[in-house]
Symmetry: C2
Subunit: 153 residues, 2 copies
Amino acid sequence: MKDVVGSPGTKTGLILRIGQCGFATASIALMVCAAGFSNYTAFCYLIASMGLQMLWSFGLACLDVYALRIKRDLQSPVLVSLFVVGDWVTATLSLAAACSSAGIVVLYSKDLSFCISENLPCGKYQLSVTFAFITWFLIALSSHLMFWILASV
Amino acid sequence: MKDVVGSPGTKTGLILRIGQCGFATASIALMVCAAGFSNYTAFCYLIASMGLQMLWSFGLACLDVYALRIKRDLQSPVLVSLFVVGDWVTATLSLAAACSSAGIVVLYSKDLSFCISENLPCGKYQLSVTFAFITWFLIALSSHLMFWILASV
């Protein structure tokens, strides 16, 4: 297998996982702090999806730390296949959650101008969605790297 | 290069492209027929994204027909790289458009119950979004096949 930057069991891989976990946590925290989020299905889905992403990335970060400490190679075809499927599923769910929430934020702030008239915390919604997009970008990066490693066998 | 089902210049590849083109066209047609779609940024973005998808898939379907007629092999690394990038970009844009529109459809039909009170054509919106999701599924399939072919070089 090729030793690519960001592959599992490397320092760059660990940094990527910590980044995903951090941005997903920030997205959840901001959305939970924004009043009235629970009235919207898309925002609840964003929290669920980012929660799943956080757990997945945290688990893989722990695995990376373990592999780095005992210097074990994590790049077996079975393990990488598992990472590919998991990364692809969580990446798709994260993008779907970020986009559906972004659709509502744009609707409220631009199309209907509800943010001012209904006094909604749109700033927090926007920041949460931005963090969700950054999380998606990082997990998409991981996902493509894993797929590349698997296909190069 | 491996000869995978659905790869460029094959009959299955052509069927996949025609499917993408057809569902994208159906999604645009339904959305354009639904009254008041132009008031929503997400629905306009859905039309733009499905339009791009339609053009891309139609172009590649024409290329497949040409390759099948003169029995030319389309699987050169440069061409496949171009297909990978194009497929990935259009797949991401299609999913983003489908999800942002789905966010608004769910908000209107479930969270706010605007469909009945405001007399909106939610049935058409829903069907258009469903077709957009089918388009995304087909283009994601193509995208992964192309990536697999490229990485197997």
